[in-house]
């Protein structure tokens, strides 16, 4: 069974087509892994064995007829932020606990179109607000990795922590995430897997529970760069129901992985040498640059002068948009309702009971920065700094093809750490937020282990809609790094 769970998506596709394994066998093995590991990891909010097996049987039928889409029979976990028709979608929140969408998000509809098997809905920080998957109303997800010689429970990162933990531990071959300020890339780094945030507008946001609409972007997790490219090929594309999705053809991302980096100019933004960054992350970054140089790329020092203002800008823009988006949860049309004598009480009691502490904080911050008298000082100011951050990237991409940075300023931390001070938690996203603010694509690739044996990722950032170069550079890093370490908590480990 361990072998079955060690498949890549590309390898599983070949095995399914060669009939050395059936989609049912592949799905059953992953459902068994979920059953074995869920008590330790809590990576899922809802597991859907019946629909998974039915989808697997349908994939087997299609494959037997010589049909079947590019993902026929591939078992995936879906972040519980994507609406799935007839399957409860909670966003990790009490307020959506009873919500069963009567429609399918575009991204998941396209994955189903291509034959994917959905194992269930993955845990996340409530409404995707967090960097640790500890703010979920359904309990924290635990990172399958542990420090050497320690069984301290570590966070998987967030917000897409369940999606990342499921793939890292062998419970799914791939998964979907969403990234607003780092919610795909940071958990990928913490869990030793690949996570890709595409360009804003590459994937449709239709049917994805909204957090910050000018930043939210769906993307894939997988154990290899090529697998992430395969998944994005299915997830991406124009959707008339999301006016921000671009009507451009979706390139062959898997082919782009094989392009190599010879002749590419790779920028090193000097502002990412953050104060207090662990020496081993600095060393790994340098190692990554050496790998790319050895593979034929030219390394160029560049400057993104407004980097240090990224987080503060983000923590105005994102809460402002969240306070507006989350106004819809009023206890009237769907979700939780706390009965009350009058309508205002109904609203206020429902929202007090339904939203957790971090979501309440962000709604209140957002309400404050948008309120009369403060709008110009905070929100308008942040929008202007956002313009400067975008210009930083536009300028730099006149000189280089891609950027290489660390993904996060630390490896995974313990459950309960960084909880005393919201700002401390926010600092996790220091390297991922700027690309979100500018809307450019970024990938995190596992590149090495820290002194405690925990995975560390490197981030490649590319030009708007140039995911292909990002995948090519990511693949070069993956090939050079030869990252083969496995987390302690996975199915083989339980034997």
């Amino acid at each position: 069974m361990t072998d079955t769970l060690d498949f890549t998506i590309a390898g599983a596709r070949n095995a399914l087509r060669a009939k050395t394994i059936s989609a049912r066998e592949l799905t059953e093995a992953h459902l068994a892994a979920i059953e074995a590991l869920e008590p330790s990891l809590n990576a899922f909010i809802t597991v859907t064995p019946e629909t998974a097996l039915a989808a697997a049987d349908a994939a087997d039928g299609a494959l037997a007829r010589g049909e079947g889409g590019p993902l026929a029979g591939i078992p995936l976990a879906i972040k519980d932020l994507f609406c799935t028709n007839g399957i409860r979608t909670t966003a990790g929140s009490r307020i959506l606990e009873p919500f069963v969408p009567p429609y399918e998000s575009t991204v998941t509809r396209q994955l189903l179109r291509d034959g994917a098997v959905f194992l269930g809905k993955a845990n996340l920080d409530e409404f995707a607000m967090g960097s640790s998957t500890t703010t979920s109303a359904f309990g924290p997800t635990i990172n399958p990795w542990q420090r050497q010689g320690s069984n301290t429970q570590l966070v998987p990162g967030g917000s897409s922590g369940g999606s990342a933990a499921a793939v890292a531990s062998g419970m799914a071959l791939g998964s979907t995430g969403t990234d607003t300020g780092g919610s795909i890339r940071q958990p990928a780094s913490f869990c030793g897997i690949v996570g890709m945030k595409p360009t804003y507008g590459r994937c449709s946001r239709f049917g994805v529970v909204a957090f910050a609409s000018s930043l939210d972007q769906p993307g894939p997790f997988a154990r290899t760069v090529e697998d992430a490219a395969i998944l994005l090929g299915s997830m991406a594309g124009h959707d008339p129901r999301d006016s921000t999705s671009m009507d451009w053809p979706v390139p062959d991302y898997a082919a782009a992985c094989r392009r190599g980096v010879k002749g590419l100019r790779i920028g090193v933004p000097r502002e990412y040498h953050a104060d207090g960054m662990p020496a081993e992350i600095e060393r790994l970054w340098q190692q990554g640059l050496d790998w790319l140089r050895d593979a034929g790329a030219e390394i160029v020092d560049v400057s993104l002068p407004h980097t240090k203002y990224g987080l503060a800008t983000y923590y105005i823009v994102a809460p402002a948009e969240c306070s507006s988006n989350l106004a819809r949860y009023d206890g009237v049309r769907f979700g939780l309702r706390v009965p009350a004598q009058d309508l205002t009480d109904l609203y206020e009691e429902t929202r007090a009971a339904g939203f957790g502490a971090e979501v309440r904080r962000r709604i209140l911050i957002g309400t404050y920065v948008l309120s009369a008298g403060y709008y110009d000082a905070y929100y308008l100011k942040a929008q202007k700094v956002r313009a400067l951050i975008l210009k930083d990237f536009t300028d730099v991409f006149g000189q280089v093809d891609a950027l290489l940075t660390p993904t996060a300023p630390s490896a995974a931390f313990g459950v309960g750490e960084n909880m005393d001070d919201p700002v401390k938690m926010y600092l996790n996203d220091v390297f991922t937020v700027p690309a979100s603010i500018a809307g450019v694509p970024g990938i995190s690739v596992p590149a090495g282990l820290d002194g405690d044996g925990l995975p560390l990722g490197l981030q490649v950032i590319g030009k708007h809609f140039d995911e292909e170069t990002v995948f090519a550079v990511g693949q070069a890093l993956e090939s050079a790094a030869g990252f083969s370490a496995k987390p302690q908590i996975r199915v083989g480990s339980l034997r």
């Binding site: 929202r351 919201p422 708007h464």
Partner: protein, 99 residues
């Protein structure tokens, strides 16, 4: 930034009222500290010279598409109401708002 004034309980209550979130007294004083710390940290944006910079609301590059003006969806009453916490026939129900 205009707002160096520290948050007081009244401001926290006013924001919570605008956001329609009921807060207990203990929560108000805890949030006063937490929100104050976040807003204080955000003040670093004061260092940035933004004179002459236009605000950027979105980095999206898609232009709004035109399409023929006809109905593409509808007649989904039961689907729309399927998640209603309380309903009467084809209506949502709420506590009485008119005496």
């Amino acid at each position: 930034m205009a707002s160096a004034a520290p948050l007081d309980d009244a401001v926290v209550r006013r924001i919570a009222r605008l956001a329609r979130i009921r807060l207990g007294d203990e929560e108000v004083s805890r949030l006063r500290g937490e929100l104050g710390a976040i807003l204080g940290w955000i003040e670093q944006l004061n260092e940035v010279d933004v004179s002459g910079v236009d605000p950027l609301a979105s980095v999206g590059q898609a232009t709004l598409a035109m399409r023929a003006d006809f109905v593409t969806d509808g007649d989904q009453t039961e689907a729309v109401l399927a998640n209603a916490p309380a309903r009467a026939g084809t209506f949502y129900t709420v506590p009485k708002v008119v005496e």
